[in-house]
């Protein structure tokens, strides 16, 4: 399939709603099963008047509808939604699902994505009516289980990050980043300062600069040294009193742990700026090294990368943040609090509540309490693995990545497709496709497409931008 996109964003309104689908062409043309069938959208299936929904009969005295809702406020033509029976509907989407590569289809080494295991238990516990059908405006006194779960998850994340305060509110990593930069702004503002710059290495993920812009600040790129880490000289040169914050991923998007991390922290703190940890790669270091101990003030987690929330083909996720004491007053509201209380045995003698009275808070990033459904899954994961298990997960990730590097080296692949930096890596690694392109005329994109032919999902390509013909592999 060509990557050319003709930007027709809606299905052609000229196609009648129940145009008969041509018979699917079959076999022998070398197309993969995912490509073989003709794409027919749901708007082109079914027949007028069909629907799976059965409306209950009207059980109240009928009142003239015009009287209840005057014509000028009314819709004239029904929205042109699909019209199908339930079996047709199920068939359509089950068949579409079969045109997706998923975790069960095979090796899925996309980099910077991390979560390769989605325990089925988590779907079961998330679906319990006490979770799935809990209204977000239910009185806290009647949502004690949910608040306790959030509180316990916050405590676990705080321990993993090495930072004492947590807000679960952000909807994904990017919103966590935005929260982080806004927290930094609020922190400086509270001290009477306006700082306009945010430093970020050139290996940073695209959301970092986008976030900084959204927070009304300006990004300043910091260079990368020969080891793939932050260029200290460049950092020193750029770290001044107008810097609000340094955003860093560690291990970074090259899969490398920055060996100068302590010095970096010192430089940044010296100018009064804060240190932000992009936690997308956290699962390389759980139980091994903690961002708080490295000197970071603010961390975001991606529950959908490090804590099993299934990716869903692009969400949902969650991006909780953990912060140090000095940042805590500015956390989004409400905050989950625990009080010694009379809730009785079930809550272990504690009462949980939502505290909205936080005068210095940056406010709300979104509605309600965040993506609670993802909290349930991540909490179940942390309880299943425990301290030992989490560390083992990190160890296994790092072991596997290094084993793959070693195998590529042993098989001679590394001659044409070497590691971009160093010899070892953390949970993922970046290969440089430059020699391959130069010597064999094969581009990284060609390699990716060829992997497709072999039934493998290709690694992330052309990221990080810093590396020519990059191939980011996370086994």
């Amino acid at each position: 399939m060509s990557a050319v996109n003709d930007n027709r964003l809606r299905s052609d309104p000229g196609i009648p709603a129940h145009a008969p689908a041509d018979a699917a062409p079959v076999g022998g043309d070398g197309a993969t099963p995912m490509q073989r069938e003709r794409a027919t959208t749901i708007f082109e299936k079914g027949a007028p008047g069909r629907r799976a929904f059965v409306a209950p009969p009207l059980d109240v005295p009928e009142v003239d509808a015009e009287q209840l809702l005057p014509a000028r406020l009314r819709r004239a033509e029904p929205a042109r939604l699909p019209e199908l029976s339930e079996p047709e509907l199920v068939r359509h989407y089950v068949n579409l699902s079969r045109r997706n590569f998923d975790l069960d289809s095979g090796f899925y080494p996309l980099g910077s994505c991390t979560m390769k295991h989605n325990p089925r238990l988590h779907e079961r516990v998330a679906a319990l009516p006490g979770h799935a059908r809990l209204h977000p405006f239910q009185e806290p006194a009647r949502a004690q289980g949910a608040l306790e779960l959030m509180w316990r998850l916050e405590r676990a994340l705080a321990e993993i990050a090495g930072l004492p305060h947590v807000s679960l509110q952000p909807s994904a990593g990017s919103q966590g980043e935005l929260a982080g930069v806004l927290l930094t702004r609020a922190y400086h503002a509270d001290r009477g300062e306006h700082r306009s710059k945010v430093l970020a290495p050139d290996t940073a993920h695209g959301t970092n600069p986008a976030t900084v812009t959204m927070a009304g600040l300006e990004v300043v790129k910091v260079g990368t040294n020969d080891d793939g880490g932050v260029d200290l000289d460049d950092l020193r040169a750029k770290a001044d009193g107008d810097v609000a914050c340094l955003m860093l991923t560690n291990p970074n998007t090259l899969g490398l742990f920055d060996s100068n991390i302590e010095e970096i922290a010192a430089i940044v703190h010296e100018v009064g700026a804060t240190l932000y940890y992009d936690g997308a790669n956290l699962n390389a270091v759980m139980g091994i090294s903690r961002p708080g101990d490295m000197g970071f003030d603010i961390v975001h987690f991606n529950l959908h990368k490090s804590f099993t929330q299934p990716h869903g083909g692009g969400g949902p996720g969650a991006g909780p943040i953990a912060v140090s004491d000095r940042i805590a007053p500015f956390l989004p509201r409400p905050v989950v609090v625990r009080r010694a209380g009379t809730a009785g045995e079930a809550g272990g003698g504690w009462t949980f509540d939502l505290d909205d009275d936080r005068p210095k808070s940056i406010g709300k990033l979104r509605g309600f309490q965040g993506n609670f459904g993802t909290f349930v899954r991540s909490y179940a994961y942390i309880r299943s693995l425990g301290a030992e298990g989490l560390k083992e997960a990190s160890e296994t990730a790092v072991l596997n990545a290094n084993y793959l590097v070693a195998r590529l080296r042993a098989l001679g692949v590394a001659d044409r497709l070497p590691l971009a930096f160093g010899e070892l890596c953390m949970h993922e690694f970046v290969l440089s496709g430059a020699p391959m392109k130069r010597e064999l005329g094969i581009r990284t994109l060609d390699l990716a497409k060829r992997l497709l032919d072999h039934g493998f999902h290709p690694p992330t390509v052309y990221f990080p931008l810093l590396v020519d013909e990059a191939l980011l592999v996370e086994p």
Binding site: M1, S2, A3, V4, N5, L9, S11, R38, A39, F43, R50, R51, A52, F53, A65, L69, R74, A76, A79, R80, L81, L89, V90, Y93, L96, F101, D102, A132, R133, L134, H135, P136, F137, Q138, E139, A143, G145, L149, S174, L182, H205, P209, A210, M214, G216, V285, I288, G313, G314, P316, I362, K364, G367, F368, N371, V376, A387, N402, L424, L465
Partner: protein, 445 residues
């Protein structure tokens, strides 16, 4: 494996990379791991300490609604093939998910009568902030005018975001439950980059969307409407009211309540804003053999170029929840959405009539309502709610929790699950609770 790598131990692998000063050197202080059945038992125990909408007869709404989630929606959302894949960066291996995004966009576009829609933003309130940010990027004006009848969480999210990217917020008050049209018109000027209202609004009232949009047409402002999708079966769609950008909370379309998330936000706009839309958009294309296919398009962020110029920082969004949304809309179907709207219209009317006939209960406003309405109680609302809950009925949202000026207000929501019998039961319980509170007040007075 260690030998192949050339290290002596797992510890060495880390020691050679992680400086000693930042190694933890102790076990995390977390409880030990548990077998699956014990994790299940623990989570089940926590869940049982919540009062869900299965445990009481609820009329709570105020932004999220206890609609029935059809079994097909859960089944499809739980299929590995939809549940587990990553973002569709390899279109060849993700045609299913990409087509779902495309169908979702088409459904939202049909629903809103606006030509372009994206493949989901996080949820409703932040979608309002994202729309305001779009206006800032589009016209750079310093001011945004917001109706006070916009959901308080949306106004809060807007304030938080605006404090970053820079918008001054001007709030317009209400008149008999809807945005005060005169004040609204007065507030809009050349400096206004966006105007924002909600339909139906936070008090359940149907706004005159056309009039509100009209008032902004002589200004540079982008007209933003925050819509509840369910009543769009019967309400005039934003695209026909002069709205430029329609956003909203998608939870009521086949998504669970989930104590507030994950659900999805939708985002639709006129053609003019196509290139400023936040988040992902799937587009139709042809492969080399002319076969129809779908790809992500307009990706101006993530791992791509011009990153600090991105129209939003959204990366992971709500693809799976959006799947639930489009499946739900297809399940309802063209006619079903209308039938559902008409049913709710009638039942909501009946409920309003029935409750306001009670002593100590009166309508908070006289506007048309379609699925939710506000009343005023002549008794302390929170205590009335508590009394009702003891009887197994959650009568609705105590407005004072979010709007101090409506400390006496109760917001009552309906879905297809709440029958006439349920409304009658609510009336009985609420009437008794109000009477009891008034009696107590009388005694203590």
């Amino acid at each position: 494996m260690l030998a192949e790598i050339g290290v002596g131990s797992l510890a060495e692998l880390f020691d050679r990379q992680v400086p000693a000063g930042v190694r933890l050197g102790r076990a995390l202080d977390l409880p030990a791991g548990l077998p699956e059945h014990e994790v299940f038992a623990h989570l089940r125990d926590l869940a049982s300490r919540n009062t869900s909408t299965e445990d009481e007869l609820t009329f709570l709404g105020a932004g999220m609604y206890d609609h029935y989630v059809p079994a097909v929606v859960d089944m499809l959302m739980e299929r590995s093939e939809f549940l587990t894949p990553y973002t569709p960066y390899q279109p060849e291996l993700s045609q299913g998910g990409l087509q779902v995004m495309f169908e979702f966009q088409t459904a939202i576009s049909e629903l809103t009568a606006l030509p372009v829609a994206n493949a989901s933003v996080y949820e409703g309130p932040s979608a309002v902030a994202a729309a305001a940010y779009l206006s800032k990027l589009a016209n750079g004006r310093p001011k945004v005018v917001v109706s006070r009848a916009v959901h308080p969480h949306a106004r809060a999210a807007l304030a938080t975001h605006a404090a970053g990217y820079g918008h001054e917020i001007v709030e317009v008050g209400l008149d008999d439950g809807v945005t005060d049209l005169e004040a609204w018109a007065r507030a809009i000027d050349e400096d206004t980059g966006a105007v924002i209202f909600q339909q139906p609004n936070f008090l359940g009232a149907v706004e005159d969307a056309e009039a509100l949009a009209d008032a902004a047409k002589r200004s540079p402002a982008v007209v933003i409407g925050a819509y509840d999708p369910i009543p769009l079966g019967i309400l005039k769609p934003p695209g026909e009211c002069g709205v430029d950008v329609a956003v909203g909370e998608g939870q009521s379309l086949g998504n669970r309540l989930d104590f507030g998330g994950p659900s999805f936000g939708f985002f639709a706009a006129t053609e003019a804003y196509l290139r400023r839309m936040p988040a992902r958009i799937a587009g139709e294309t042809r492969d080399v053999d002319g076969r129809r296919g779908f790809v992500l398009t307009l990706q101006t962020r993530e791992q791509h170029i011009r990153r600090e110029k991105a129209t939003s920082n959204i990366c992971t969004a709500q693809a799976l929840n959006a799947l639930g949304g489009v499946v739900y809309l297809a399940w309802l179907g063209r006619r079903g959405l209308v039938e559902l709207g008409e049913l709710l219209l009638q039942r909501t009317h009946y409920a309003r009539e029935t409750l306001t006939a009670l002593d100590g209960v009166e309508a908070l406003h006289e506007q048309p309502v379609v699925r939710e309405f506000a009343v005023r109680l002549d008794a302390p609302v929170q205590r009335v709610v508590a009394r009702c809950q003891e009887q197994g009925v959650n009568p609705g949202f105590a407005l004072g929790r979010e709007l101090p000026e409506h400390a006496d207000g109760l917001l009552v929501a309906l879905t297809e699950r709440r029958s006439k019998g349920d409304v009658d039961r609510l009336a009985g319980v609420l009437g008794a609770a109000v009477a009891a509170e008034r009696a107590t007040a009388g005694v203590s007075a």
